[in-house]
Symmetry: C2
Subunit: 275 residues, 2 copies
C-alpha cells in the first residue's frame, strides 16, 4: 500500500504525523494521522471523529497526545467520509454524505461505490499501519458522537481487532434516532435487519465484548435526548451482561471541550487493556 | 462597558467563556474569551496569539485549560486585529492588517482609526474583566510569535500591569525583521524612534522587568532565522542585566503542537509569580 507523508510535527517528545493512502474502498486518497510517542513499539488507539469532522479534529482539539506520550500509546485517526469521490447531494447536509460516513460500508447506490469506511478502517488503515513502528495485534478504539458509534460497532463487529473500547457521547441506537435513520436509509436502504448489524444497542444484545466499555456523556449535551439516548445502551448492556461504565457529567455539552476534559481517563482505560 | 456573552462551555471543572465587547479603540465589536477555573478569585494569565489567529486559537489549540484548572488560573484571550472596521488592503496579506495588529496603537492613517490593540488590551480588556470573578491586580502574559512580541512589549511598556511574562517563538526584534518592518512601516510610519517603543530588544536595553522572562523556541521553526532571531533578545537581556530563561528545543517547529508541548511550564512560571 502506498502511504504518502504530508507533514511531521514534533510534539510532547513524539511525532504527530499526517499521511494519506490510496484507498480502494473509498475510491481515492484518504488522509490519516499517527501520533508516535517516544516509546518503542507502542500499542495503538484508534480515535474516530464525529459528523463534519476530519482526520485532524482529534489531533487539534482533543489534547490526547500529552498523556499518550507519557503512557506510550500511538494515536491513529482517519477521515469521516470519502473525499476524492464526490456524489450528487453529498454536501447538501452536514448529517449525511461528506463528513458523515458512519464507519460502515454502504450497500445502496450510489453511496456503495465509495462510502466504505468500515473496509477502509478495518483493512486499509491497518495495512497502512503495518508500515509504522507500532505494536501488532489488537488496538484500542475511542470515538466521539458518530465516532462513538463507530468505536462501539467496529469493536462489537470485529472483537479480535480491538482490545478496548470507549466513547464520548456516542450514537448508540442509530436505528431509532434521526441522525442514524437518515444515514442508514441512505447508505443501507430500508432493510432494518441490515441496520441492526451497525447499531450498537442491537449488537450489544447479541455479543459480549470482553472487558468493560467506558462511555462519558455530558448532561448538557444539546443532542442528548434526540440523537444519543445513552439509557438505551445501558439497558442493552444490562440485559446482555455486558460490562459498561457509563459516566454522566453535569454541565458538559457535546463539544471537544468535553472530550478534552475526560480524554485522559479514556487513554488510561486503553493503556490498562493494551499493557 | 457592555460585554456580550456568546457561549459558555464546561471544561476541566471550570468554564470556557466566549464574549465580545464594544471597542472604542478598535471601532466596533471585539471578541475575547475567559477560562474560569473552579478556584475562587483566580489570578489572570493573558494569552496572545500570532499572525492570522483569533481569540479562539489559544482556546482550541494550546491545551492550557487542563493545568490552568489545576493551578487555579484564569486564561484570557483576545483577537489579533480589529474586525468590525475594514480598510482597503487589510486582507491583501496574512502578515499585515486583518489578523496582524501587532498589539500596538497605529499612528499612521488609515490604520490609526482602528488598529489600536494596545489600548484595547491595556484598557478595554482589563475594564471588561473587572466584571468577572477574577483577582484584581497584575496579570501574567504569554504569547506566541506576534503574540510573543505582544507579551514582551506590553509587559516592558506597562510593568505595573504584569507580574510575569513568557513567550513561545516571539518576534523579539521587529525593527530588524521583515514581518516587523512591514507592520511598523504601515502602522507607525518611518520614524524608527517610534518603532523602538514597540521592539522587545530595544525596550529590554532600557528597562528591566522584575523577575525572569521565560522563552521557548523550536530549532526547526521555519521562521527562526528570518523573523525570530532569539539571539538578539538574549544579547539585549544580557547587556541590560535582564533575567532570561531561553530554552531551545531540537526538532520543534512554529506550530501550536510546539506550544501545547511546553504550555504547562509556562503556566507554572506564571502561577509562581501570581501566587
Amino acid at each position: 500500500m502506498h502511504v504518502k507523508e504530508r507533514a511531521l510535527r514534533r510534539m510532547f517528545g513524539g511525532t504527530q504525523g499526517f499521511y494519506s493512502l490510496d484507498s480502494e474502498a473509498c475510491g481515492g486518497e484518504m488522509r490519516f494521522t499517527v501520533y508516535l510517542p517516544a516509546r518503542r513499539d507502542p500499542p495503538v488507539v484508534l480515535a474516530l471523529a464525529g459528523l463534519t469532522c476530519t482526520e485532524e479534529t482529534w489531533v487539534i482539539k482533543a489534547g490526547a497526545q500529552r498523556l499518550a506520550s507519557e503512557l506510550g500509546l500511538a494515536i491513529v485517526t482517519c477521515d469521516t467520509s470519502p473525499r476524492a469521490v464526490r456524489l450528487p447531494g453529498d454536501d447538501a447536509s452536514w448529517e449525511f454524505g461528506q463528513g458523515a460516513g458512519f464507519y460502515l460500508d454502504a450497500t445502496r447506490a450510489p453511496w456503495s461505490g465509495a462510502y466504505r469506511l468500515e473496509t477502509h478502517v478495518q483493512r486499509e488503515l491497518r495495512e497502512a499501519l503495518s508500515g509504522f513502528p507500532v505494536r501488532r495485534g489488537p488496538w484500542g478504539v475511542v470515538g466521539h458522537s458518530m465516532g462513538g458509534h463507530g468505536a462501539l460497532t467496529l469493536a462489537l463487529r470485529h472483537p479480535d481487532a480491538y482490545a478496548s473500547v470507549s466513547a464520548f457521547a456516542p450514537i448508540v441506537a442509530p436505528s431509532r434516532v434521526p441522525w442514524g435513520e437518515r444515514a442508514f436509509t441512505g447508505y443501507l436502504g430500508d432493510d432494518r435487519d441490515a441496520w441492526a448489524e451497525h447499531d450498537a444497542c442491537e449488537l450489544a444484545r447479541r455479543r459480549v465484548f470482553p472487558g468493560e466499555l467506558l462511555i462519558d456523556q455530558g448532561l448538557d449535551d444539546e443532542f442528548l435526548a434526540r440523537e444519543l439516548q445513552p439509557e438505551r445502551f445501558e439497558e442493552a448492556c444490562a440485559s446482555a451482561g455486558q460490562a459498561l461504565r457509563l459516566r454522566r457529567h453535569q454541565g458538559y455539552d457535546h463539544s471537544y471541550y468535553f472530550v478534552a476534559t475526560f480524554v485522559d481517563d479514556h487513554l488510561r482505560h486503553h493503556a490498562r487493556a493494551l499493557g
